[in-house]
Structure formats: C-alpha cells, structure tokens
C-alpha cells in the first residue's frame, strides 16, 4: 500500500471529526437474517411512508445493496436527514444446500448462492463510502461470531460512528445484554424492528449520533 494511502487511512477518523456532512450516508450492516431490511422498512415506513425491499425467512433475501436518499428523522425537536444503504448480509460461507431446506429448487438455490456471494462483496465495498453504520444483530443469537467481529473491526479501523441494534427483542430467548457484553465499547439499542418495540429510543440515538 502506498505511503499516501496509508497516511490518509490513518488520519481518516480525525478528518471525519472536523468535516461532518449535512447529510450522512448510513449503512445497515449485519449477518444474514438479523433483520436489516425489516429495520430499513420500519424506518422508511415511519418517516417516508415507503418501504426498502422484501423480507424472507430464507437467508440472503437481500443480495444487492439498496440506497434510499434523504430520509428525515425528527425527535424531540432535533432533526437529522440521512441516506440509508441497506446491505446484503455478510458471511464467510455460502452453501446452496442450505437454501434447499427452504423448498427452493437446486437451480434456484445455486442462483441465490451465486448472487449472495456477489452481495457480500458489494456490502464490503460500500464500507468505504459511508459516514456511519447501524449494525443489526439478532438478539437471540450468539454475538461472538467472526462476521460480527470483522464488521466491528472494519468500522473501528475506518473511524466510523457505530450504533449496534439488538433486534428481535420480542422473542422470548432474546438477550440484548449478551450483545452489550460482547461489544462494550459501542452503544447498543435493543429493539424489535418487526413490532416497533423501543423504536423511538433508536430514532433518538440516530439523531444524537448521526445528526
């Protein structure tokens, strides 16, 4: 890596401190089936009356990043306008056999797997064009996965503000405390994107951190 590029990367977090944009581009990241698109849909429905994309129990439903510009969020007299990027779920392995269990044909499953691999690459590329990240984790799952560690490490290395969303707290075995213990250096907001539980607290945090 060239010395100039290295220096630019090292000082990027300092540069960001002094050059806040009027409108921040916020990426929604996380592993497959954590509820990223459900959250994007919730935010858009609440503030624009629109939706981002379809959701499904089959992993890797979102296989292309989707951008929605100019979403205005107003909480307690404070307002923030953000561009939202809903990204495909990150994974280190994609086996088409997993999709067969959901009733897909072999041809469909292979096509989905191929598109999912492209989606993972696209999600990683987007990291360089963002001003902040909402990381969505399934609160019923173990947060200590390598994908989660890698996402957090990359966000920290780029100096991006990060808000961790502990999703699916409406489920009986959800444990947002486990997520807080795994990533104590970052704020964690427990919500249910599907049911809208504690969503106002999330909007307050978004306005606070990305405003």
């Amino acid at each position: 890596m060239g010395i100039i590029v290295k220096i630019k990367k090292k000082f990027k977090f300092l540069f960001k401190l002094f050059s806040r944009k009027d409108r921040m581009k916020i990426g929604i990241y996380g592993p497959p089936n954590a509820g990223k698109t459900t959250l994007a849909n919730r935010i858009l429905r609440d503030w624009t009356g629109d939706v981002m994309g379809s959701v499904s129990d089959v992993p890797h439903e979102t296989r292309r990043a989707r951008l929605r510009e100019g979403v205005k969020i107003e909480v307690d007299g404070k307002s923030v306008t953000i561009d939202i990027v809903d990204t495909p779920g990150l994974a280190t392995k994609i086996d088409f056999h997993e999709f067969l269990k959901f009733g897909l044909s072999e041809e469909e499953a292979k096509r989905r797997a191929k598109e999912a691999t492209e989606g993972v690459i696209e999600a990683i590329k987007w990291l360089d064009d963002l001003d902040g990240v909402l990381m969505v984790l399934d609160a019923t799952e173990d947060p200590y996965t390598q994908v989660n560690v890698t996402i957090v490490g990359n966000i920290e290395a780029r100096g991006l503000p990060l808000l961790i969303v502990a999703n699916k707290i409406d489920l009986p075995n959800a444990s947002p405390a486990r997520i807080k213990a795994a990533f104590p250096q970052h704020p964690v907001v427990p919500i249910s994107a599907l049911k809208g539980l504690n969503i106002d607290t999330l909007y307050r945090e978004i306005a606070e951190r990305f405003g």
Partner: protein, 117 residues
Amino acid sequence: MEGVQLNLISKDRLDKMGSMEKIRMILDEVKRGKIIVLESGLTPEEEAKLIELTMLEIDHEKFVGIEVESYPQKTKGFFSKIFGGSGGRLTVIGPANRLKTIQKSDEFIEALVSLEK
C-alpha cells in the same frame, strides 16, 4: 495415517508477508483442506479482503467458503490509531465443511475439525 493437516504460522513469518501474500497463502491452503492457525492473526481490513476473495472463489460444489475464528481486537487508543499497532489476535481458519465452531467468547474458542470432507 488419515488426518487433517494443521499449519501453525508464527508471527515472525506473518510479519514478513504482505497482506495479499498472506491472504493468498491462507486461501490456497484452506482450499486444499488444511486448517491454518495464525499466531498474530489478520487486521480487520485483511479479514474483509479475505472474505471478498473467498466469495470470488466459492464454486458451490467443492468449496463453499471458510470458517474463521479469532478473538475480538483489543480497543485501540488514540496513538495506536495514528501510528498503527499490532494486527489481529490468534486466528484459526479452515474450510467451512471441515471446521466448525462450538463455542466462542472474548477469551476462549472451542472448535471441531472433521476428518470427512
């Protein structure tokens, strides 16, 4: 003797290698069915690059991806952010169909290596 080959790579050796050299070596060995243990691990950027290249090489038949396990990075201070510090911590990488993580916490990783491909 039937078994799984484990390659334990020292920090000294890793320090002499460039990022792409490390990633290429890891992917080539993992695709041959080996388990790689890195004493000093990878930086977050190298891990992201490893995932990217893995996605490009998945063929949906013989190679479906990798299993990677490492401990979370220690939180960096102001000066280490500017001047750089050590890379990642101890990391285990293997083919997804051979290496399975059983349990993982901040200070402990338990994994299972299967003999069958």
